[in-house]
Symmetry: C2
Subunit: 313 residues, 2 copies
């Protein structure tokens, strides 16, 4: 694996890596080796029924999920739960364009779908960690897409699901938004169809990508109330350059594009011809016979709901 | 003047042109000649008190304002009012980067402020049309910025003001948004610091600019309710390519950048050190002694308010 200093265990770890071996993707291609990196907090109880799974959002790693949600007395309390944070494929920690070997590296990394992440995580949870029930799956944005997919695909295993700020089936509007992020990167001549030698060749594109994130990723109220002050910045421009651009220019463009493609196409109803209505989600597995349960009602733990309200508010 | 076929009178006219002669801009530079193009509908009554002024929004011309608001029984009824639609500086119809002569053409066109438009329109209304009272100033987005500026700058002349979806002082969030539009254009190698030979050299940048407009310029509900169907399109992608991209790729990049710079800096409180509080808007003209009146309460005609609710809803 090649390294990008941003994706280091000293900054984002510690993490464990599960080698899931050969893995056939939803789009048909087979990866010779799929590594899923994950971090855990707390202890699995004797009944093995206190595990919480947290998939990551776009560009996020296990570290940011920990910082946002995990801790004694916080939404995901490791004194009560065994919290498993699973890095999504392409996020730079799990198998990703920048850390793969030819012919599947860089711009030649295959397209990944939300269902690939969820199937890989299922393998991790059941085969590697020997856990057969999840007290909760919770995630925001792309983490919510994975949460919905978990609930529809493995309903008997998911006791509670709390998708935060995400869709069961991605919308046209959101697809277009992700497209502006993609094109901010691919329009940079330094991108060179993914064959750049350093992510810094694409610095200008990554900066534009960061700027579009600032506009759409934060609310009008975030700017009206000058919430960036709470993050320690003295002006919007300082927040933009020293936080948003500084963050995203460290990342690998192909990694981001891998996640953006996946995000655009998140859809739990792929096997029901796009029908999200009750009963339509029959899928081709007996495990999914109760899938419709998850269409309208999702339950999170109390703390998590409070966190969700805070975020939504 | 050089021509861009998009900005033709056959498509956007008929219009009149008022040559306002030499015009010193807010930023200090003097344009040798400022032409303000405007279209009128209806007739000025004998009391000369039924005039409505409509400034244009970003990229819009007198034609779109007519199509949206003007007609018998519509918000701005030419059977009752004398409707004057004034093309903003830089929109391609009034004096703009693409139709100016060196040394003030293309990327060398000077920076324009909202107050320049309003001062020029004031000259047009009072000196060319000999009108000294406006029954209403109404406009959306950048048209709202001009409406606010009119109300603060010439309060005794503006009987009613209806700014729709715009700010008296532009926000940080909106500034950043306009910046993403600017950079979608300037990042295109074909832009060449404004020295392109044809607007089509910047086609890819203009398409990205159109895409960002689709995401932020329309509401989540517009996409959720598939309102693009009402515009005659069969898919979001058709709406995106055949309407949004087809529209914006006809325009001149320097014209758009001129308007975007202006939009970012709209602020009626420039003369009160950024203070928008009651009483602070004293400006340096006796005409503005009632400026504070316009801080919180704006009145539109009934029809116009209904239109505004429709747009806001």
């Amino acid at each position: 694996m090649k390294e990008n200093t941003y994706y280091s265990e000293s900054d984002h770890g510690p993490w464990h890596t599960a080698n899931l071996g050969e893995f056939t993707l939803e789009e048909g291609m087979t990866l010779p080796e799929l590594n899923l990196a994950y971090a855990t907090h707390g202890k699995l109880n004797n009944a093995r029924d206190n595990a919480i799974l947290v998939p990551t959002w776009y560009s996020g790693t296990n570290k940011i999920m920990e910082q946002v949600y995990v801790g004694p007395g916080r939404a995901l309390d490791p004194e009560k739960y065994f919290v498993i944070i699973a890095n999504q494929i392409g996020n730079g920690i799990s198998t990703s364009p920048h850390n793969s070997e030819p012919p599947f590296n860089k711009g030649s990394f295959p397209n990944i779908r939300i269902a690939d992440d969820v199937r890989a995580q299922h393998k991790l949870i059941t085969e590697h960690l020997k856990i057969d029930t999840l007290a909760l799956v919770v995630g925001g944005s792309m983490g919510a897409q994975q949460t919905y997919e978990w609930a529809v695909r493995y309903p008997d295993m998911v006791k509670r699901a709390a998708p935060i700020a995400g869709y069961a089936k991605n919308t046209d509007h959101d697809y277009l938004y992700a497209q502006t992020l993609i094109e901010a990167i691919t329009s940079d001549p330094g991108y060179n169809e993914g064959k750049y030698s350093s992510h810094l060749d694409v610095k200008e594109g990554l900066k534009r990508h960061a700027k579009i994130w600032s506009v759409m990723g934060f609310s009008t109220e975030f700017f009206a109330q000058e919430c960036w002050k709470e993050l320690g910045f003295t002006s919007v421009m300082a927040f933009q350059t020293d936080f948003m651009e500084a963050l995203f220019t460290q990342m690998d463009p192909n990694n981001l594009l891998c996640m953006a493609w996946k995000w655009q196409r998140g859809d739990v109803s792929r096997a029901s011809d796009g029908d999200l209505s009750l009963g339509a989600l029959s899928y081709q597995s007996e495990d999914l016979r109760h899938a419709h349960r998850y269409r309208y009602v999702f339950y999170g733990i109390e703390d998590c709901q409070r966190e969700q309200e805070m975020i939504a508010g």
